[in-house]
């Protein structure tokens, strides 16, 4: 994955409920997987998102972009790489690469990016605490 920034890897298996009548994983499932990637990345950084919420913050989505290159199918084994791509005091960006893993190798299925605004629990923009910014940067 190009670019700097802390990364983590998540293994996922395509659920039957995530497929659609085209026989492939429905496109609205990808942002759900990206969110699983963020959860894993923040755990890896010692900063579970659950704890961040308990401290009074939300990371609300402001932008989502997904590029779909190849379709995923039920029961495919996927590897999601999640990277912190930008850290500012009130906004964060994450980048994603999704591969299919099978005996023949790794195949890029999709890439994506999400932008987030830090808010308090009244949805007002808020400055992230220093320890959080340090862990992410």
């Amino acid at each position: 994955m190009t670019g700097t920034g802390k990364t983590s890897q998540t293994r996922l298996r395509v659920r039957y409920a995530e497929t659609d009548a085209m026989g492939v994983a429905h496109h609205a499932g990808y942002p759900v997987w990206f969110e699983v990637g963020r959860t894993d990345l923040m755990h890896a950084l010692g900063l579970p998102y659950r704890d961040l919420e308990a401290r009074g913050y939300y990371l609300m989505l402001s932008d989502l972009q997904v590029r779909y290159r190849r379709a995923a199918r039920y029961d495919d084994l996927l590897e999601l790489t999640t990277r912190v791509s930008e850290v500012r005091s009130r906004t964060l960006k994450f980048a994603y690469e999704l591969h299919r893993i099978d005996p023949e190798g790794r195949e890029l299925l999709a890439t994506g990016e999400t932008h987030h605004i830090a808010t308090d629990h009244s949805y007002r923009p808020a400055r992230l605490p220093e320890d959080v910014l340090a862990a992410l940067a």
Copy 2:
């Protein structure tokens, strides 16, 4: 629909995202539709669920039962009948009948039932207010 109790009708169209690789509506979408039916029924009773939450209550699900008879497909027009099937001071039951509507007539697709426990926002069982019980009964 057999049985007594207040009812309402909801029209739904099967969304593409609700289908799966079998080419039919995925079974986990039915409880979502039932919930839409409850929203509509409570609106019809002058008791929007949103207002009930604002007054400090939740209606948490304790039991779900669905019987699937015929499959629904993308873009099918459905009619959901939702009925209050039991009202007690701390628990409620709703019953559901889902039909497909098409030029040839109505076809029963599924039936279901949900049981609910009234709680406060700390998830502790709570007695529903009199006006709520009266509106539902």
Copy 3:
């Protein structure tokens, strides 16, 4: 909505299942709504997507972009405007504007865009039939 291209309007109510623990509609629900918008637009053009599939085509997503400006909440009434923003023989683009409708007026919640590739049922790129291109253009 700026730009040319055929449009349609869809009314939606935020489902409880579409909310998340932040108390707002989860961001992965927006692409599902956009898809409902496309279904409605293609019905309005006399070209139901269901029929297009029956003729052997899929419109697979290649790109998704969503900009979230304000949060939607359970039971909010939304109006989605869907527009054909580009028609080529093998690719299509759609643009979306999502507003909340309430007694005080309309409020813009989100905008988005999706790009699609026409394929056959083996997921191979395919040229759309002339009548389809004409209906969309």
Copy 4:
């Protein structure tokens, strides 16, 4: 888990997208988890559901029952036990127990059951092949 029948265990983490505005995992996510459990169980039996579909069968849901005892929350670690509870030539039943795993121990969150009808890809009831029945029994 009471009763006979082959079982498997699945670890799941509650996804943010699976929560709702009550702050807990939405009830319609449980049948999705059960389905993940069936996928894992059939893998464990050397009989991936994907292969069964490739051989021309579907296991369509005819009945779903869930009893919710305690709520699950975002990021909770869950352990799902899936059991084949009945095998007949044209129908199958599975039973489920869902526990939360945390440092203090295991806590039962929900139980459930699903009934399935074996069909061909035209949704007509079909007799399951002998090797499948043998692997499940």
